[in-house]
Symmetry: C2
Subunit: 247 residues, 2 copies
């Protein structure tokens, strides 16, 4: 399994991903699911991947080869980020179709999902979720985040905190809490957590962190959040049958 998310706020984009991959529960590995493309100083694009690892890797390899060979369509040539989302969806479909017949004989799913976000000079920040079927949707002010993989455990905190006006750093902290909650509830999502921040109009990766359980920032964030949750919990209203001294 996997959990990746990205958020578009007024100040920029935040991307976060776990790094655990598994084939069953008895074959667990660590792979980065975050792929960054800083291109020609006029654009920055980040791609997060989830699903069949061979499909995901083949798509990323295809993106890099098309760039290197300056294919007609590549991440450096597209005029709009939705063209990039379309291109990733098409590439993903082609790879899935190639391998699906043999995978289906072993009941293995070839599907992969992607998050693609970034900015092209003189255009707005954009963020897309590319479905396994190759189509895609965009984040918006009303729905500022997109998620792929194991999305549910970490969604409530995003729903409660994220607004278009949230600062990039608060958004990044929220993404870390969302990943931490998911890792606690699903062992198939695991560290290191990668975190990338792209400020609006900087057209580059402004911050990139890789956090493990023993990274001081991550440890202090985990402790602070746990303490804060317990404090919030202890302040919840009493039931009418509880005497005030019950607590």
């Amino acid at each position: 399994m996997t959990y990746c998310l990205a958020v578009k706020v007024n100040d920029g984009l935040v991307f976060a991903s776990d790094s655990r991959t598994n084939a069953g529960v008895d074959y667990i590995n660590t792979y980065s699911k975050m792929h960054t493309f800083q291109l020609q100083e006029d654009r920055v694009i980040v791609v997060l991947s989830s699903g069949n690892l061979a499909t995901s890797q083949a798509v990323i390899n295809g993106l890099r080869r098309d760039l290197e060979e300056q294919s007609e369509i590549n991440l450096g040539s597209v005029d709009y980020l939705f063209d990039a989302a379309h291109y990733v969806g098409q590439l993903s479909q082609r790879i899935q179709q190639e391998h699906s017949p043999s995978l289906a004989r072993h009941s293995i799913n070839a599907e992969a999902s992607f998050i693609l976000g970034g900015q092209i000079r003189n255009r707005e920040l954009q963020l897309y979720l590319v479905y396994p079927e190759g189509n895609y949707i965009s984040a918006s002010d009303d729905t500022p985040f997109v998620q792929i993989g194991e999305t549910k455990y970490g969604k409530p905190i995003l729903d409660r905190v994220i607004r278009p006006t949230t600062t990039l750093e608060d958004t990044a902290r929220c993404a870390l809490v969302s990943l931490d909650s998911t890792m606690r509830s699903n062992i198939s999502v695991g560290p290191p957590i990668e975190l990338t921040i792209c400020k609006k109009d900087s057209l580059r990766i402004d911050q990139h962190l890789s956090l493990n359980y023993d990274t001081p920032l991550y440890r202090s964030l985990q402790k602070s959040w746990n303490d804060g949750i317990r404090r919030a919990f202890s302040r919840l209203p009493r039931f009418e049958w509880e005497s005030p001294s019950t607590k």
Copy 2:
């Protein structure tokens, strides 16, 4: 969809359920999913249901008819709560098997899941999750809660807070937060929330509440939790590149 959960702590049992049912998104109703049986003063049993509404209702009707007709096996006659879990599982399987062929022609799933918990005099508190297939597992000190329906959104807060030593009232508050988080993230889970508390060895329903969005307790709990989360959030550690004055 549905979200029901139950928790076994040292002091007793807490049950909580939403009340929304739906057939597609365009046919939404309100049904209680909490069914209580206070029997012969020697036992209390609570059953929560999720899944196909007709199957759930038929199972509950069957439980009540068997009680009324004093069938050989009924909730009042079983010696152990695992016998009750087994009986609910068998009944559920029988009903599913009766209706599955006609439902399958319309691609409708007949499955239902149940939580069954309570206490029989001179025995321990027990809590079971009965799968659609009729088999069942028990809660334990290491895994003190069971959930059915839309379980993921509300699990992180349970993982963080619930321990066997948690008080019944704190457990009940945690169950309400878990339901609130789920209702925010999935519109197919909705109010009223029912909450039942059974103290250890009381052999009866000690508290039963039905909470709607406009119930003062629920409103103050929602506000207090939101404020607490935001406060916890504002205290998370800063990134090294943030000046202390950023916040």
